[in-house]
């Protein structure tokens, strides 16, 4: 199970990576493992607003559905559209090719409230 050090994490198992002025978001290795083979993902459109803690989309496996929660508030500026034809990317490479959306944050300080890799790893170990 991977927990890249340079990322921040939510209790809902999303990760956030700072990339210039944007925050890139996806789901963690633990999340994709729990979900199973991803068969479908529903993402917002470019330009849509997102709010911290609120749902921005849905990811589905054959037997489970999970909402995706925004780690921070802001506006969606990029969407990883190839995911709809290749949802398995989320399983194969959740932290790189499996990225979901990029957000232009309205309040970058919100990032600080998220967990770091060490804290998240401990959090995950508690879940199991």
């Amino acid at each position: 199970m991977e927990f890249p050090e340079d990322l921040r994490y939510t209790r809902e198992h999303e990760w956030a990576r700072t990339k210039g002025t944007r925050i890139v978001v996806g789901i963690t290795d633990f999340a994709q493992d729990q979900l199973g083979d991803v068969v479908y993902v529903e993402l917002p459109d470019v330009g849509d607003p997102v709010k911290k803690g609120e749902s921005f989309g849905v990811v589905e496996s054959t037997k489970a559905v999970s909402e995706l929660f925004a780690p921070i508030s802001g506006k969606v500026v990029e969407v990883n559209s190839p995911l709809s034809d290749a949802p398995e990317t989320i399983n194969e490479d959740p932290y790189e090719e499996g990225w979901m959306i990029a957000i232009e944050p309205s309040d970058p300080k919100e990032l600080e409230a998220l967990m770091d890799a060490k804290t998240y790893r401990a959090f995950v170990q508690e879940q199991e």
């Binding site: 809902e12 198992h13 789901i27 633990f30 999340a31 493992d33 729990q34 979900l35 199973g36 083979d37 068969v39 479908y40 589905e60 496996s61 054959t62 037997k63 489970a64 999970s66 949802p87 398995e88």
Partner: protein, 526 residues
């Protein structure tokens, strides 16, 4: 991201499959009893490629028949792609398909909450009498008094059996009955000036419950059941307010446990003007023993295909009559059947029932199922119905006693007609509920209900019903025990299961990622 069922994808990813296991029928596991002759592969009808054949015999068209009166652009020559095969080929096709199926007529189905009891052949024969099968729903009442009388008698019996004042027969299935029941509840509240906004339900509720509530515009509030598997009054009291339209309960619940706090819970809900909805899926435990209407329920839906043995048919049709107390009767959907003097009539005119929620389906209900259910009620009588409840509960408790310690029992609380185990004891060997279920198939049994209810991780829910014999139950238990042993000795065999049916484990991921939902010429699954 939560995973309440305990299901994990790794359960479906197999260990290396020994080639032999794929081919051989391991006779040592043949305890289930179903035998097969040769089992053929069978292509889709549409792949036959034959032309010009037809399997029906019809009168000729009149000489010179034309369709000139129809606009040419709106007419088609023939439907391309339809098969063109003889009656014999059709008969062989479906006969061969049928032998790939497990059915109650083939073997045991210990499916919890499904009540897979024997479907009497008498019910089937009676439903097919021309006098029942060939009646048009719009036949004038004087030409269909037999059908109307049957519906009236069934309505009286269903009302009595569950302890309610009147029953609407029209809903097409259990979930449809739930939709109806919540609609009636909503209409009742609307008539009092406030539809209210919430519906309470326990974490053991079947998925159709919150779906039915949501479809009626209600927010769903889930309440946690206690460590004994029961919903406790305090949980209800804490959530109950004047914005709650109803609580939806199954009793016994989906753990097979009687909600013994039902009266107090009903009082709490009623005190704030709410109503109590009953999901009647588990009526089999209560027949002749106790009645939901006496417990404080205001409305309940039946599942005729469960309790009254109308055939499951590979997924339906069902029938979900809704029984209510008098204060909800005005809101029932139309039609309802009434007796006036010696004559029977359907009330279809909204003017006669101005508060009715309206129509929920075409015509009057799944009459074909009414005949079967009524036939069963006539054959059982009050004693047979009471025996049903008792035997169903006895059989389930027998299973519980015999499998105790072999599989983990998450709740010590008494079970009624069904019992829930889980896979805790098998986990140590890397075996999960899914593996146990698939291996049961090799023993000739359909698996029990698995991964439901959600409150139990890796749930295995077993409901034998009253129509299974002691011997069958013992064979089933023997198979379950053998699997538990195999879990320790040879877990790989379980991961590779099932090996005996015509197909091994099927790739559901592929089916969902690249859906192929119909035949097209050159269809390929990849």
């Amino acid at each position: 991201m939560s995973n309440p069922t305990g299901w994990k994808p790794s359960m479906e990813k197999d260990a290396k499959v020994p080639a032999a296991a794929a081919m051989a029928a391991a006779d040592g596991t043949g305890l289930g009893g179903a035998t097969r002759g040769l089992v053929h592969e069978e292509a889709l009808l549409f792949e036959r490629g034959s032309t010009g054949r037809c399997g029906v015999s019809l009168p000729p068209l009149p000489a010179g028949h034309d369709v000139q009166d129809l606009p040419a652009a709106l007419v088609r020559g023939g439907v391309d792609g339809l098969p063109e095969i003889s009656e014999l080929e059709v008969v062989r096709h479906f006969t061969r398909l049928s032998i790939w199926n497990h059915g109650i007529d083939t073997g045991f189905y210990p499916l919890g909450s499904c009540t897979m009891k024997y479907n009497p052949k008498s019910s089937e024969a009676l439903a097919r009498l021309a006098g029942f099968a060939n009646v048009h729903p719009l036949a004038p009442p004087e030409l269909c008094q037999g059908a109307l009388e049957l519906m009236w008698r069934l309505e009286r019996a269903l009302s009595e059996i569950a302890g309610f004042d009147t029953t609407a027969l029209s809903p097409a299935a259990g979930a449809h009955g739930e939709l109806c029941g919540v609609m009636v509840i909503r209409a009742y509240h609307e008539s009092k000036g406030n539809a209210r906004r919430k519906v309470l339900l326990p974490d053991t509720a079947h998925g159709t419950n919150p779906a039915s509530a949501a479809l009626n515009g209600y927010d769903v509030v889930q309440l946690a059941s206690g460590p004994d598997g029961r919903l406790h009054p305090e949980a209800v009291r804490a959530a109950m307010d004047e914005d709650v339209a109803a609580i939806m309960l199954t009793n016994p619940n989906t753990l097979g446990i009687f909600e013994s706090h039902i009266q107090e819970i009903a009082e709490i809900v009623h005190a704030k003007g709410g109503l109590v909805y009953g999901d009647g899926a588990n009526m089999n435990a209560l027949l002749g023993v106790a009645r939901p209407g006496d417990m404080g329920f205001d409305v309940i839906q039946y599942n005729l295909h469960k309790t009254f043995a109308t055939p499951h048919g590979g997924g339906g049709p069902g029938s979900g009559p809704v029984a209510v107390k008098a204060h909800l009767a005005p809101f029932l959907p139309l039609p309802v059947v009434v007796k006036e003097g010696e004559a029977y009539r359907l009330v279809t005119d909204a003017k006669e029932r101005p508060k009715s929620v309206g129509r929920l389906r075409e015509f009057w209900g799944n009459f074909g199922m009414f005949v079967r259910a009524w036939a069963l009620i006539r054959e059982y009588g009050p004693d047979g119905l009471a025996d049903t409840g008792k035997l169903a509960v006895l059989n389930a408790n027998y299973v519980r006693a015999l499998l105790r310690g072999v599989y983990n029992l998450p709740y010590e609380t008494d079970s009624l007609h069904e019992v829930v185990f889980d896979d805790k004891l098998q986990k140590a060997n890397g075996i999960a509920t899914m593996d146990v279920a698939k291996r049961l198939i090799d023993h000739g049994f359909h698996p029990p209900t698995i991964y439901f209810p959600l409150v139990v991780s890796g749930a295995i829910m077993i409901e034998p019903t009253e129509t299974e014999s002691k011997e069958t139950i013992e064979r089933f238990v023997a198979a379950m025990k053998a699997i538990a042993e195999e879990a320790k000795a040879d877990p790989d065999a379980l991961h590779a299961a099932p090996s005996r049916p015509i197909r091994a484990r099927l790739d559901e991921t592929r089916a969902a990622r690249k859906p192929v939902l119909r035949w097209r010429p050159g269809i390929k699954v990849e």
